[in-house]
């Protein structure tokens, strides 16, 4: 167990971060290069002001017609994405780990807060699953990969919650927590989780087209 722990928290963690950062940079740079070659219009029509206008509009809850039409989804998806990003970065235990290893540290959230954030992520994933299973228009689009993605995202939070509360078999959970977190990180650039990298470009581009060329709103 100890060797496994060392492996998962050492080399594998390095590998995951390298794949995540390296892969993300590779994906973005290669797509930008490909766009330069094949979709020059994207560069021609890109407009910083209108791209930002669209992005800001869409990252504000209830600021668009469709966010207002789907209030439950809006609340859940915003809560989910905020917690998903904030909780791991500002979790006390993570900050301490980094401090021990590299002697760099930053501000962290009280444990009670991150605990609730983890629960929000878990319940949000539950809601996404429920939506996939019950809403015809979502079900129609769903394939097995969508379930795998959901599992990949919920796993680090569920195991982290488990380990933090020292429930049954938490030593194993601790290892699974690290492992699943690493899998998720490494998967971001190479699965549809890459919407994390691309969203800013797709939204920005349609925002540019709608704003600068079409003189219309895109929300």
């Amino acid at each position: 167990m100890h060797t496994l722990y060392n492996f998962v928290s050492g080399p594998l963690a390095w590998l995951a971060f390298i794949i995540f950062f390296g892969g993300s940079i590779y994906k973005i740079v290669s797509m930008m290069k490909l766009a330069k070659k094949k979709d020059t219009a994207v560069y021609e029509y890109w407009d910083g002001y209108y791209a930002l206008r669209s992005i800001l509009r869409w990252i504000t809850p209830f600021a668009t017609v469709n966010w207002r039409k789907n209030p439950v989804m809006t609340v859940v998806t915003f809560a989910f994405h905020i917690c998903l990003v904030i909780a791991p970065i500002f979790l006390c235990a993570h900050v301490l780990l980094v401090k021990e290893a590299f002697d760099i540290s930053w501000w962290y959230l009280p444990d009670g807060v991150t605990d609730i954030m983890a629960l929000i992520v878990i319940f949000s994933c539950g809601y996404f699953l429920y939506r996939r299973k019950t809403k015809a228009e979502v079900k129609f689009l769903t394939s097995s990969s969508d379930y795998w993605l959901l599992l990949m995202v919920v796993a680090p939070f569920a195991t982290g919650f488990w380990a933090y509360h020292q429930l049954f078999g938490y030593n194993l959970m601790f290892i699974l927590h690290m492992l699943s977190g690493e899998i998720m990180l490494a998967a971001i650039p190479f699965t549809r989780l890459s919407h994390m990298l691309y969203a800013i470009f797709t939204r920005g581009y349609i925002g540019s087209e709608f704003g600068a060329v079409r003189h219309a709103r895109d929300w």
């Binding site: 070659k37 094949k38 809403k135 228009e137 129609f140 929300w219």
Partner: protein, 442 residues
């Protein structure tokens, strides 16, 4: 008007015979050629970014009108076409291509409303155009719309209008006018005029009165204008919708060059949406023009400028209750919604908004070449726009008797909807009303 209402009947000679000529090898080859040579990051990123959340669904009138059947949601249509094509790397059957063609040509108006509902702004219209491009290269295209593309290729106009027919039509309109307004002219090939006025092929063919009305408006406003006698007068473009990008380029080149030859300052175009998309968005890009090489003024902007400058006088406003349809290609495509409202308020005393409106207005279900796919798909098109009928009905209940549809395709589509749902509303172009209520010179 129009063909008798058929039962849902998707047999189509173009699709059926096109499919019969396909082999799996040809399909794979053509698909991979298109994907390799004509698509790039945009397609890849759109497909990788879609998280299959279904939030685009309510953006689509097909989906909303067909009892929220998921096969009609924007992402649902992408799933049935391009996802599968990419998954199988082009190894799909002739039957698959036929169905993909039917979806891309007849179950999507390319109206881009869904781009305003997808949180990522994924442009499903672009993806459907990629599918149409593949189908075009495979020769699986609904017969009627392909016929219009053939007309474009042979005559440089959409309706097989011969050169002398075109000129005759203009003379005929001049003659008609003589009774009402002496000396009304439709100046042909006047070099150095300020405005070249261009229309779509169906205007001389079926709706010549619109040319007449605009001539009266031009005349009353004292404008220096002309129309070309040679090819290039037609600004329409069904090639854009069949996926024949090369022909689209040829057509737009002819159109822009007609204006260059006449040395005009701008092109004013009639009340047509798709033609505007062709000159302002797609055709110019095909030719490498970021923006059109000649200033393009759509009728809605033109009327707005006229009224803003006080060039047209309205002694008494139109008094019937009117509602206004916002055509996708000039509203989501060019943001002319406030200008059209300005004009409507100038000429009508009782304007009733339908909701949703402006950028969020429901499509007419005729655009994107769908109405041009002809009778086999008419029923589907009308049934698939029930939400539009409901929208019109609600406006009617508030007192709207007349629907203003400043776009030819919208006009055709709404005509069928009004007829099918027995809405009993009158349909007009904006220039119909301007002409009716304006102060005309003797």
């Amino acid at each position: 008007m129009g063909e008798p209402l058929l039962k849902t009947e998707t047999r189509d000679i173009g699709l059926d015979t096109g499919m019969a000529k396909l082999t799996p090898e040809k399909i794979e080859k053509v698909i991979n050629e298109v994907l390799e040579n004509e698509t790039g990051a945009k397609l890849k990123v759109y497909v990788d970014t879609c998280v299959h959340c279904g939030l685009c669904s309510e953006g689509c009138h097909y989906y909303m009108s067909n009892d929220k059947n998921p096969i009609y949601s924007p992402a649902g249509k992408v799933k049935q076409t391009i996802w599968e094509i990419l998954d199988k790397k082009g190894k799909v059957s002739p039957e698959f291509i036929r169905r993909a063609a039917e979806i891309a040509y007849t179950e999507c108006n390319l109206c881009k409303r869904c781009a305003m509902y997808c949180p990522f702004g994924i442009d499903v219209a672009y993806l459907m155009l990629v599918v149409r491009r593949i189908c075009h290269k495979l020769g699986v295209i609904p017969q009627y719309i392909q016929d219009t593309a053939h007309s474009h290729a042979a005559t440089m106009n959409q309706m097989w209008v011969k050169e002398e027919e075109w000129i005759d039509t203009l003379f005929w309109q001049e003659e008609e006018a003589a009774e009402e307004i002496e000396n009304l002219r439709i100046p042909l090939d006047k070099e150095g005029a300020e405005i070249m006025y261009s229309v779509i092929g169906p205007e001389p063919k079926f709706r010549a009165q619109l040319i007449y009305e605009v001539a009266v408006i031009m005349n009353a406003a004292g404008l220096d204008w002309t129309m070309p006698s040679m090819p290039g007068w037609d600004n329409s473009d069904m090639a854009m919708y069949t996926g024949d990008n090369e022909l689209m380029g040829r057509l737009k080149k002819e159109h822009f060059e007609a204006a260059e030859r006449l040395k005009v300052k701008k092109i004013v175009m009639g009340e047509c949406g798709h033609a505007f998309r062709s000159v302002y968005d797609m055709g110019n890009r095909q030719l490498g023009w970021k923006m059109p090489p000649v200033r393009m003024v759509h009728a809605l902007e033109f009327y707005y400028e006229l009224f803003k400058a006080g060039k047209i006088k309205i002694p008494e406003k139109y008094s019937k209750g009117v509602t206004l349809h916002d055509p996708c290609n000039v509203i989501r495509g060019r943001g002319l919604h406030e200008m059209s409202r300005y004009t409507v308020n100038k000429i009508c005393s009782n304007f009733i908004e339908m909701t949703p409106n402006r950028e969020h207005n429901y499509c007419c279900c005729a655009g994107g070449g769908v109405i041009n796919c002809g009778p086999p798909f008419r029923n589907k098109r009308v049934v698939s726009d029930r939400v539009k009928a409901e929208q019109l009905m609600a406006a009617k209940e508030k007192g709207a008797e007349v629907v203003i549809a400043p776009c030819h395709n919208c006009h055709g589509g709404l005509e069928d909807i009004i007829d099918h749902y027995k809405l009993d509303m009158e349909l007009k172009f904006l220039c119909d009303i301007i002409y009716e209520v304006m102060e005309k010179p003797e």
